[in-house]
Amino acid sequence: MKLRISAALTAALFALMLSACGSGPQPPAKKLIAVITPSNDNPFFKAEAETATTRARELGYEVTVNSHDDDAHKQDQLIDVAIANRAAAIILDNAGADASVAAVSKAKAAGIPSFLIDREINSNGIAVSQIVSNNYQGATLAAQEFLRLMGEKGDYVELVGRESDTNAGIRTRGFHDVLDKYDGLKLVSRQSANWSQSEAFQKVETIIQGNRNIKGIIAGNDTMALGAVAALKNAGLESVIVVGFDGSPDAIASIKSGGIKATVLQPAATIARLAVDQAHKFLTTGSTGAPEKQSIDCELVTPANAGQFGLFGRK
């Protein structure tokens, strides 16, 4: 008896939900832009989200901001939510070059244009725009500055980001395409610190035990570079050259106070703003007027020019 009642209740609920879906929420008075980024505890992604939000509001849109924590499944759910909310456009920093193709296709099928920022997907013609900072160019830029600071010789250490991450691979390739040509440079240790400051701190502490005379450390991002600087300072090895990647505010502050020697700034703010502008243009004129794949160059930050940079962009 109980069973039958609960079955009937469930059926009724389903019917209710289906009918609700049928009529659907009314489209908002203002058009909605959904901004989806990897996380909210990283200043880089925060800058992305905040810039996109500000720009979209300026242009008269409603904005929702969510993060997928680099989880393709969660990203998929967030895309579903955007479709259900009848978003006009999606600004997405995606959760994996291959894993995100299906989600973006789904948005396209629902008639919602996607504008990808920071990371590409391995498919063309699904997103309207894919605007990324040129990680490879940035990595070669960082490597060239590192090379100059090292005087083209000496032992060095490389800290790699999370090795399953596309950008970690591109950056290390960029570093080595420059550095491997010089016989005087010797890579004595290469470890992943998973983008993390405390992990970089511990790993550098251990690495310098085995390699007392290292001259430089090149890191796949600024957080790891800052961890390296803290470890070196503790060990009294302040003279070791540390170069990072990203151009985070903390890294720029560190450059100003003599910690990190250089970093390359990814124009996250510029990219996010550009993506919103193109979305607006696409929604009003039907075309962005730009090719799908766009690559924005990174800029080198050194003690000489550190004062000119703000939150992932020039002041």
Binding site: S192, Q197, N211, A230
Partner: protein, 336 residues
């Protein structure tokens, strides 16, 4: 009989094998400098694991320690870096460094207390209760700093809040403070477990809750304090990490709980509760630490490091099972 001793010393034997292997393979391994760094790295996990040992001995589990470490770091970082803003008054209050440390420890203990109340009073399963507080504490850390890092925690003399960094980088008699902290916590942990009624009652609660209650043990109270201890230990770890880096990051401590649980299990403490020791846990933390640092010195890739760590944990647990079966057989033999 010899087999019995070998089983009992299994964690130490694994540790010895690792030390000998790394010494043979890397000249830098067995040096004073490296050992100091190594023990300092072990200290982080060991302090967490001592607190975790009490929880596991009582028959529970604490998944929230990593998040508590992140939260306590952020609280300390925020108080030193930007002070406490009292909105209605428009006043910013800066606290003395000791008070900052005390507040952060109290916050960790408070999360532990919340775990304890959920588990002992509301009878929520430990796994679920601490899984929940793991998320809540992490979220609280992110909210407190709005996702940002609090950099430069050296403080300023005018505000009277300098000296925080000493917690991470200071030394006494040439030995880094984190190591002293670990020694103190480990000694206190062993003492509490072996030489106090509280410690004995934790073993009783984990061994047989019903029998403990009928023997006059206030089970709920014992469990509550186990989680408070674990929370306070986790908060201390958060402070040490923030002090070492000179910066507090809200994502600090992710997956720390797994390392702590691994150390406890490697040390021979049963996940079913009631069996194990704080001393074993310290050895377990050393096994994990030696393995991690040794493999880095050898330049082994991250992926292999993960695989090897997993294999060592499984091996240790197999040995543990063998030892328990052996002990049961030995007990049965005595009965005849």
């Amino acid at each position: 009989m010899i087999l019995d001793y070998l089983f009992r010393l299994r964690a130490l034997i694994v540790l010895a094998v690792l030390v000998i292997t790394f010494t043979a393979l890397s000249p830098a391994f067995l040096t004073a400098g490296n050992l100091t760094i190594l023990v300092k790295h072990v200290a982080i996990n060991a302090i967490l694991a001592v607190g975790m040992t009490f929880v596991i001995l009582s028959g529970g589990i604490d998944l929230s320690v990593g998040s508590i470490a992140g939260l306590s770091g952020i609280i300390a970082g925020g108080l030193i870096h930007s002070g406490l803003v009292l909105h209605p008054l428009g006043v910013i209050v800066y606290f003395h460094t000791w008070l900052v440390v005390a507040i952060a420890l109290a916050a960790g203990a408070a999360v532990g207390a919340a775990n304890g109340l959920l588990i002992s009073q509301l009878r929520v399963a430990p796994f679920i209760a601490t899984l929940g507080s793991m998320y809540v504490a992490r979220g609280a850390a992110l909210l407190t700093s709005n996702g940002a890092t609090f950099p430069n925690l050296s403080g300023s003399p005018e505000l009277g809040n300098t000296g925080f960094l000493l917690l991470g980088s200071g030394t006494y008699l040439g030995i880094p403070l984190p190591i002293w902290l670990m020694l103190a916590i480990a000694a206190a942990g062993v003492f509490v477990a072996v030489r106090t009624p509280f410690g004995r009652r934790i073993y009783a609660v984990g061994g047989n809750e019903k029998a403990a209650e009928l023997s006059g043990v206030r089970v709920a109270r014992i469990k509550f304090w186990a989680y408070v201890i674990s929370g306070a230990c986790a908060a201390l770890v958060g402070l040490v990490i923030a002090a070492q880096l000179g910066a507090a990051h809200p994502a600090t401590g992710e997956t720390f709980e797994l390392n702590a649980i691994a150390a406890v299990v490697l040390g021979g403490t049963s996940l079913m509760g009631g069996r194990g020791s704080v001393g074993g846990t310290i050895i377990g933390a050393f096994v994990i630490g030696v393995l991690a640092d040794g493999l880095i010195l050898l330049g082994v890739s991250e992926f292999w490091q993960i695989v090897i760590k997993g294999l060592v944990i499984v091996l240790a647990v197999i040995l543990d099972q063998m030892q328990q079966r052996y002990a049961l057989r030995a007990a049965a033999a005595l009965r005849r």
